[in-house]
Amino acid sequence: MTIPFPSDAWIKAMMADLNASEAYLAAAANWEGSFDFIIQVGGKTTTLYMDLWHGKCREAYEVPEGAEHKADFRLSGPVAVWQKVMTKKLDPMQAMMTGQLKLTGNMAMVMKNVRAAKELVESCTRIPTEFPA
């Protein structure tokens, strides 16, 4: 069964996957910081939030439209780019280095934990996903 992306059910599935991942636990042992994944679909923007803390995801949900909200890191882009990354057709680092995905936040934390970022994306690829047509 596939889960629609982006959605609350999808980010909760990713939370379950991350929390079961030994690789993520090891790679993100020093990671502290919440993440907003911001996905543009047509004219609509959906924000999926994850609270990431020392290799575990403590909370994840779709941010209700109009809700006051701020995460430590924000990664945003059109759904077509997200789809390419999540289906391994585009390397996430290349997507960010060429501005196809835009990352903001404490870049020192990112540069010291690149493997954690890689495992995070690996987790995305494991979720059976239904992308918008």
Partner: protein, 389 residues
């Protein structure tokens, strides 16, 4: 979409004279005290004399530059206000100069946060040129910056495309006095750049040819430059090879040998080239045991004229060729041979694995080890055994 970046490259005998064409108000030569003593900074200053620019020398860069050292360098630039920064040195000097340039232009930045994702807006205060005095780093042709977090005993693989030197000047006269040990260490760094640039997951049509030719040039000329440092032909080809390899891997990426090398260097201060070259054969053995068909060792081995009956056969011949070259250069081929005791190694093994795990280059490998696999791999490299997993 991807991007190929290159400085203007001036190479060959008398290349230093190109500095006459620079125009500006004040140039600061960023270098180290040994290169000042060796007269190399003075050669660059003399080459700048016809420009009429005021020339200052900042010689406080040390091997494996730290975050604190580059902050200090940036403070010196803020006091001097140069409009040209000219790095004269090996990888440590050029990497430090890149970071100093960034912090001179962006004093509010944390050097640990230098990254290839954000736009920095460099160039408002100064332009940047590099004159390498070793043949290996390739830093004169890349945007990569390796800095050391001394408190965490960790080397950080940082970089920004904007930190690429505008001009790289490759004058073989600048390396004629390089001692044999440094010639070997840095030349093997160039070989590691070439091999990893060709085999990393970011390899591309633009970088492939550069990496292949650089590898061939190092195999051909490094033994001669090591045996006779005054051989100008060998020095010239090796100097070119290092920059060609820099262009190659700088536009693809390095991989696991660099991730492990950074970790070893951060903890035990093994020179960069010696460390990455030590790991190169082991990481080839490790990668070829990964997913079948995921490596490019057949193509690389064939280009180098080695036997390549299949992926594992090609990898095996490539490993043998690298180890033969290292033997000719009296190069340590195990961590133990670098003079690190078993006790010290075991005490730091978890830190080595943790730092290699999160190194920016490790994740570019065709096979990316987990934490426990890294510990096994480091142990095999300590003992000099065959990689068997």
């Amino acid at each position: 979409m991807w991007i190929f970046s290159s400085p203007t490259i001036v190479y060959g005998e008398q290349a230093l004279s190109h500095l006459e064409s620079l125009s500006g108000r004040k140039a600061c030569i960023i270098t180290d005290a040994n290169l000042v003593k060796a007269g190399l900074a003075a050669k660059v200053a003399a080459a700048l004399a016809p420009t009429g620019m005021q020339v200052e020398i900042y010689d406080r860069v040390e091997p494996d530059p730290t975050l604190e050292a580059v902050k200090e360098g940036a403070q010196a630039m803020l006091a001097l206000q140069p409009d040209w920064l000219i790095a004269v040195g090996g990888g440590s000097v050029i990497d430090a100069a890149k970071a100093i340039w960034i912090l001179y232009e962006r004093p509010e930045m944390d050097p640990e946060a230098i990254n290839p994702i954000e736009t920095l807006g460099l160039g408002a205060k100064a332009r940047f040129a590099a004159v390498p005095t070793t043949s290996g780093t390739g830093s004169e042709a890349t945007y990569a910056i390796v800095l050391t977090n001394a408190a965490e005993k960790r080397k950080l693989g940082l970089g920004s495309r904007e930190a690429l030197p505008g001009v790289a000047i490759l004058d073989p006269e600048m390396v004629l006095g390089l001692p044999p040990r440094q010639t070997a260490d840095t030349g093997l760094d160039a070989l590691t750049h070439a091999v990893e640039g060709f085999t990393s997951t970011f390899h591309n049509d633009f970088s492939d040819g550069l990496c292949l030719n650089a590898a061939k040039l190092v195999f051909r000329w490094l033994p001669e430059a090591y045996a006779d440092g005054t051989n100008i032909e060998a020095r010239t080809h090796l100097h070119n090879a290092a920059t060609i390899a820099g262009l190659g891997f700088g536009n693809s990426m390095a991989a696991l040998a660099h991730g492990m090398g950074h970790a070893l260097g951060g903890v035990f201060h093994v020179p960069h080239g010696r460390a990455v070259a030590l790991f190169l054969p082991y990481t080839i053995e490790y990668c070829v045991r990964g997913e079948e068909g995921s490596t490019r060792y057949v193509e690389l081995a064939k280009f180098l004229g080695l036997h390549a009956g299949g992926e594992r056969d090609a990898a095996s011949h490539l490993v043998n060729a690298i180890r033969d070259l290292e033997a000719q250069l009296d190069q340590p081929q195990t961590i133990a041979a670098c003079g690190i005791s078993r006790e010290d190694f075991e005490r730091e093994l978890d830190l080595l694995a943790a730092n290699a795990l999160n190194d920016t280059q490790t994740i570019m490998s065709t096979r990316v080890p987990e934490f426990d696999e890294l510990k096994r791999l480091f142990t095999i490299c300590y003992e000099g055994r065959l990689v068997d997993f």
